[in-house]
């Protein structure tokens, strides 16, 4: 069965600095998607970034980028120029290409220090 592991329950970063959140996953599939979701205190689940496993190029969305290492089954999220509004729970998630479900890691709570 596929699993997603986030080893950092909490992290803190100074405003305007850069922070990297870690995620590893386990799968025997070769085609899949990986995601980072953000959950602010409003509890809305917001997609931050998506990576298709067949793409070697790392996905980027403005200040958010990933480091996707397929062989190592690693998928970290880098947030540059951290802002107060980035404070939230961040969930790493996996979906197999033929799967009907998305599996989530346990989340990392990110604090932004002013």
């Amino acid at each position: 069965a596929q699993t997603v592991t986030q080893s950092q329950p909490e992290m803190s970063v100074q405003e305007a600095e850069t922070v990297t959140l870690s995620c590893t996953y386990d799968t025997s599939e070769s085609d899949y998607y990986l995601f980072w979701y953000k959950q602010p205190p409003s509890r809305q689940m917001i997609l931050v970034i998506r990576q298709e496993a067949y793409k070697q190029q790392n996905a980027t969305e403005n200040r958010f980028s990933v480091n996707f290492q397929k062989a190592a089954k690693s998928f970290s999220l880098k947030i540059s120029d951290s802002q107060l509004g980035d404070a939230a729970m961040y969930f790493c998630a996996y979906r197999g290409y033929r799967d009907d479900k998305i599996i989530f890691g346990k989340g990392t709570r990110l604090h932004i220090l002013p």
Binding site: Y33, F35, Q39, S42, R43, Q44, M45, L47, R50, E52, M89, F91, R95, Y97, R98, D99, D100, K101, I102, I103, F104, K106, G107, R109
Partner: protein, 113 residues
């Protein structure tokens, strides 16, 4: 236009009661889900429906009964509520096989007293 909407946002009820949470999506997706988020923020899938048919039932007690009248709606009915059912329940939708991310509703915080 809200893509995935679920009602109510908050639900407080007594043990033993029966309650329902409604969910609707206007994205044209063929797959809908119910996820449960516990007090430690862990998100766990409960059910997955594809074109109104149950695809996944992740060992959820049979007090929980999802119903999908059409592919745009997936409701969750809970019988004989227990204290341990207190959680946030999320409805979500996505395209089926080959689809990518799920789009989530705003969640329903259920508190059983």
């Amino acid at each position: 236009d809200t893509a995935v909407s679920q009602t109510p946002k908050y639900l407080v009820t007594q043990m033993g009661n029966d309650k329902s949470i409604k969910c609707e999506q206007n994205l044209g997706h063929d797959t809908m889900y119910w996820y449960k988020q516990d007090s430690k923020k862990f998100l766990k899938i409960m059910f997955s429906y594809n074109n109104k048919e149950l695809i996944i039932n992740e060992t959820v007690p049979n007090r929980f009964s999802p119903k999908s009248p059409d592919k745009a709606h997936l409701n969750l009915h809970i019988n004989s509520l227990e204290l341990g059912d207190s959680a946030v329940y999320f409805c979500a939708s996505s395209q089926g096989q080959g689809g990518t991310e799920a789009f989530f509703g705003q969640g329903t915080r259920l508190t059983v007293v």
